[in-house]
Amino acid sequence: MNWRQPHTGGMVMLLAVMAVLPLFLDNSFQYEIAIKVALNAAVCVGLNLLIGYTGQISLGHAGFFALGAYSSAILTDRYGLPPMAAMLTGALGVGLLSFIIARPILKLKGHYLAMGTLGMGVIISIVLNQEADFTGGPDGMSVAALTIFGWEPVTEFQWYWIAVGFLALCVWLSLNLINSPVGRALRAVHGSEIAARTMGIDTTHYKVLVFVVSAVMACLAGSLFAHYNGYITPSKADFFYSIELVTMVVLGGMASTFGAVIGAVVLTVVPQVLTVFENYEMMVFGGVLMGMIIFMHKGLLPTLSEFIGKRFHEPDKR
């Protein structure tokens, strides 16, 4: 927690945007989008640690999100746990699960890792679909309302603060992790794992750490989503949601925490705008996605900040 960190400015800006945004939101639907953006962004911030900083691909994070959502749903509904306890139990369970599978899975490289994580996600999704007695199957199940020490958020306005609060926490954690010795080790892993290992860095240890952190962030976001939405179906465990999350990270700009947030903003809002295309919606969405990434390989934030940096002749580094 060092306020002299170079990212402090960005963090302050983010908090400012969060604080001001409600002035521009004038109905429940717009709040809903803001809440979804915040929760997606929180998952992306965690996922970005994994993809952007350690260079490990995961095509299975939707699985962790869904596990969080369903542990909240099932533990409160079937076992009568209070929501906060259910959420923490879920997070603990997912933390443990991801810790156990992290070592064998992270031994895989590149596309094999993509396949490994994809397989893991698919298996979670199949179990959620099949165990209908617990999960309600593909039709899903309803989720009890969230209570935080007796207080129950009801309005979208209240939920907005919970969601952005959670996002701020994730961003803050992520920035601190990046600027700690752990972060430097991570970047070394991304640069060259063998070189890092030769330098005496226990690369596996750090990769496992980041994997677990990102899984738990996804899991908590899932829990919050389930309580907010009041209903959950296995489609959130779907392979496509995993892809969507990775796309948000890549689109925003890899290895940039704020980039991940921006990626989530764009990919959550764009589909709402594209509904005007009706039948052509999917076509346009695919085209826009392709185009944005082809013309901005590095992602939105790095490309734009490069552009802005050039225009104002400001030094890039402090």
Binding site: G10, V17, F29, D139, I232, S235, V276, E278, E281, D316
Partner: protein, 398 residues
């Protein structure tokens, strides 16, 4: 990377603030910009969210086409209460989470007067909390009984429940002295729900399920599952619960494996696509379906004959495609909604809701609707018939 972005990030976030403002006021207001007009010449807004793409597009596609046709015809005939009717539609892509978001959009952004939609049970169940909380009349087009049982004040539905379909099949089996069956179901929402109902109803219907198999989404070959059922001793009949391409694949696989026991499918197969896709292998398969499917064979004095044939003729000539019973659910949903608004004389939500509940002897294409405070479906088993595939077409059984 990472460390050198601080200043850029500040600029970006400034930009983001602006973007957020634009997004909030501009992009999201895309469709909701017309709100400030005077009430009288403002159209009546009917909102809908359907699975036009994604896993249940076989439902959403004909539903949307039907609704667009219905609204256009309605406006051509002077609209409703002297006002034009506007259909605001979003594609839920069969995702329940998207359905939830779109319902909020319909309620708060587009400020619709009534919602008719929700192709699947999952999509419908995911929005019920919002509907109830925000008190807007909602007519669902999805199958499961749980939607209206227990009764929810603002929620109605038009299709027969999956339970009725299964009960109908079991009754037909019993009448043919078949009591030991094997089931294959798709693992999507539709198949799962049908499987659950079959398991639940089997005991009381005197049916014994000897084999209970499942297939996955996008599977291309079901012979292993059917072989497994085939080799289960004592199976007298086969039931497939599912929809879309697998219905035809199962029919083909079933025939290829040389099985000759009676073959049943559900209303998920109630479309000419199924017969054409199976390429001759569908002959003799029996399904329960709304009378709409065999409207030509209904007696001339059958109460549904006129409505159903009119719908069939209009749909088929307009879209150059054969009807399915799913479009019929949407037709009935709009019929109930527009008649209720007509009777209410306004779009006041509580009055319209009360009028929907008073729907009495309304002849739709699915059947005849009589709703009450305890019955938000208002259809009985009677309007459901068994049909059998014969000579590449549907034939009314019984």
């Amino acid at each position: 990377m990472g460390g050198d972005l601080n200043l850029g990030a500040i600029h970006m976030l400034k930009l983001l603030t602006k973007c957020a403002a634009i997004v909030a006021v501009g992009a999201l207001g895309f469709t909701g910009a017309l709100v400030s007009q005077a009430k009288a010449d403002e159209p009546i807004k009917i909102g809908t969210f359907l699975s036009v793409t994604g896993g249940a597009s076989f439902l959403g596609d004909p539903e949307l086409k039907t609704m667009q046709m219905f609204i256009e015809d309605l406006n051509a005939n002077g609209g409703l209460l002297g006002r034009k009717v506007e259909l605001i539609h979003y594609d839920s892509k069969t995702s329940s989470e998207e359905a939830g978001t779109f319902v909020k959009r319909l309620i708060f952004q587009d400020k619709v007067d009534i919602i008719v939609g929700g192709s699947t049970t999952g999509n419908t169940m995911a929005v019920i909390k919002q509907i109830q909380k925000n008190e807007i009349p909602f007519i669902s087009l999805a199958g499961a009984g749980v939607i209206i049982d227990p009764v929810k004040k603002w929620v109605f539905k038009t299709p027969h429940t999956d339970k009725v379909a299964v009960a109908k099949i079991f009754k037909d089996m019993k009448s043919r002295n078949l009591s030991k069956i094997g089931i294959l179901s798709g693992n999507g929402g539709f198949g799962k729900s049908c499987q659950k109902n079959a398991r639940a109803l089997a005991g009381s219907a005197g049916i014994e399920i000897l084999a209970d198999e499942t297939h996955g989404k996008g599977d291309t070959d079901m012979t292993p599952q059917i072989t497994s059922i085939k080799s289960t001793a004592g199976v007298q009949a086969f039931l497939y619960c599912g929809f879309g391409a697998p219905t035809s694949i199962v029919a083909k696989n079933f025939k290829q494996l040389g099985l000759t026991i009676p073959h049943y499918q559900t209303h998920g197969s109630a479309s000419m696509r199924f017969i054409k896709g199976a390429d001759g292998a569908a002959e003799g398969i029996r399904i329960p379906a709304a009378a709409l499917l065999v409207v030509d064979q209904l007696a001339d004095d059958h109460p549904q004959k006129a409505v159903a044939s009119a719908y069939k003729a209009a749909y088929e000539s307009r879209y150059n495609d054969s009807i399915s019973t799913f479009g019929g659910h949407a037709y009935d949903g709009l019929l109930i909604a527009t008649q209720a608004i007509e009777r209410a004389g306004s779009t006041d939500k509580e009055t319209v809701r009360a009028e929907i509940e008073k729907t009495n002897n309304l002849v739709g294409v699915d059947g005849i609707f009589t709703m009450s405070p305890n019955d938000h479906l208002g259809l009985n088993e009677g309007s459901f018939v068994m049909v059998v595939v014969k000579d590449g077409g549907w034939k009314l059984s019984q």
